[in-house]
C-alpha cells in the first residue's frame, strides 16, 4: 500500500478501496469503477455521479438527489471476529439529512452514516430504524473544537471502527468517540449489507468523496493516525 510522508496507509484486511485519484480505480469515463482491494468488488457509478480529475486530489461528486456508487458484491454480514472499519476522505456540502454510506437497505440489519438528521450532526445507526446508535449534536461537536457540522464544505477524514461492543469514531485524526451519545445494542452481530454496500445512497449524500475504504477489522488508533497523516497534506487538513 502507498506511503506518503513516511506514514503508511493500513492495508491489513482491506476488503474495499475506492480512490478517485488512482486512474486504475477510475479511468475518468464510463460507469465501471475498480475496487483497489484484492477483493475486486463490482463497483458501479449510478445516476450520473460525477468525477473530476485534479491535483492534488481527484474526486467523485454526488449531487445529493440520487447520485451514488454501488458496491453490489460487498454483501452479507459485515462484522467479523476482528470487527470492521470504514474510512473516508470527503467534502460534504449538503446541510440537510444525507447518508454518506450505507450497508444494506433493509431496516433491522442495515448500518448507516447519517449526517444532519434532526438534532444531530452525525448519527450512526444500525440494526433498525435508529435506536441502536451513536449520536452527536452540533453544539457538542462545536464545544469540543470541531465546528458545528461534519458537512461544512471542507475536506475531512472520518473513520468508524467496531469490534465487540466497542465503537470508535475518528475525525481528522482525533478520536472523538467519547463525545458521542450511545444507546441500544453496541454489538453489530446482525448487520448485513443486504442489497449492497453503497456510497451516498438514500437519503443521498451531497458533496465529494476522495477515498473510501472498508476493512474487516477494527483499525487501531495508530493505524488511523498513520492513514490520516499519510494523506492530510494532500487534502489540506
Amino acid at each position: 500500500m502507498a506511503t506518503h510522508s513516511g506514514h503508511k496507509i493500513a492495508s491489513d484486511k482491506l476488503v474495499f478501496s475506492l480512490d478517485a485519484s488512482n486512474p486504475k480505480c477510475y479511468s475518468g469515463s464510463g460507469t465501471a469503477v475498480n475496487d483497489m482491494s484484492n477483493r475486486n468488488h463490482t463497483t458501479t457509478i449510478i445516476n450520473g455521479t460525477g468525477h473530476t480529475s485534479s491535483y492534488p486530489a481527484s474526486k467523485f461528486t454526488f449531487d445529493g438527489s440520487d447520485d451514488r456508487i454501488d458496491v453490489s458484491t460487498l454483501t452479507g454480514r459485515i462484522d467479523t471476529p476482528d470487527g470492521f472499519s470504514v474510512e473516508t476522505w470527503y467534502r460534504g456540502t449538503r446541510t440537510d439529512r444525507n447518508h454518506m454510506w450505507n450497508f444494506g437497505n433493509v431496516s433491522g440489519v442495515n448500518f448507516n452514516c447519517n449526517f444532519n438528521d434532526g438534532p444531530y450532526a452525525l448519527w450512526f445507526y444500525w440494526e433498525g430504524s435508529g435506536g441502536n446508535l451513536m449520536t452527536l449534536t452540533p453544539s457538542t461537536l462545536n464545544s469540543n473544537g470541531h465546528g458545528t457540522s461534519f458537512t461544512d464544505g471542507n475536506n475531512h477524514h472520518l473513520v468508524f471502527t467496531h469490534t465487540g461492543t466497542t465503537n470508535k469514531v475518528y475525525y481528522d485524526g482525533v478520536d472523538i468517540s467519547s463525545i458521542f451519545t450511545t444507546s441500544g445494542t453496541q454489538t453489530m452481530e446482525n448487520v448485513n449489507a443486504t442489497g449492497s454496500y453503497n456510497i451516498a445512497g438514500s437519503p443521498n449524500y451531497g458533496g465529494d468523496i476522495f477515498i473510501n475504504r472498508v476493512y474487516k477489522k477494527a483499525l487501531t488508533a495508530d493505524e488511523v493516525t498513520s492513514s490520516f497523516r499519510a494523506d492530510k497534506d494532500r487534502f489540506g487538513v
Binding site: 450520473g48 449531487d63 440520487d66 435506536g131 437519503p203
Partner: protein, 82 residues
C-alpha cells in the same frame, strides 16, 4: 456548479422514459417517494422528448430546489430513536 434540471414525474411514467435521454441509469435506480407514487429524472439543458411527452409532470426545478423538495416528509422518512 450543478447545471442539471429536475422534473418530478409519476412513478408509473418511469416506463415511458428513454433512459438514454436522462442522467439516471435506469428505472431501477430512480428514487421513489415514500408512498411509491412519485419519482424524478434529471437532464442537462432542455427537457428531452420522452420527458416532454409526459402528461403528468412537475415544473422544472433547479438543483437547490429539488434538494429542498427531497428533504420533505413526502420523500424522506424521519429516523427514530425508539
Amino acid at each position: 456548479m450543478n447545471d442539471k434540471n429536475y422534473v418530478i414525474i409519476d412513478a408509473s411514467d418511469l416506463d415511458n422514459i428513454d433512459f438514454s435521454e436522462v442522467v439516471e441509469t435506469s428505472k431501477d435506480t430512480c428514487v421513489l417517494s415514500l408512498d411509491g407514487t412519485k419519482s424524478f429524472v434529471k437532464y442537462i439543458g432542455e427537457a428531452p422528448s420522452s420527458v416532454s411527452a409526459l402528461n403528468s409532470k412537475s415544473e422544472e426545478y433547479s438543483h437547490d430546489q429539488i434538494l429542498e423538495i427531497l428533504d420533505t416528509d413526502e420523500w424522506i422518512e424521519p429516523t427514530s430513536t425508539s
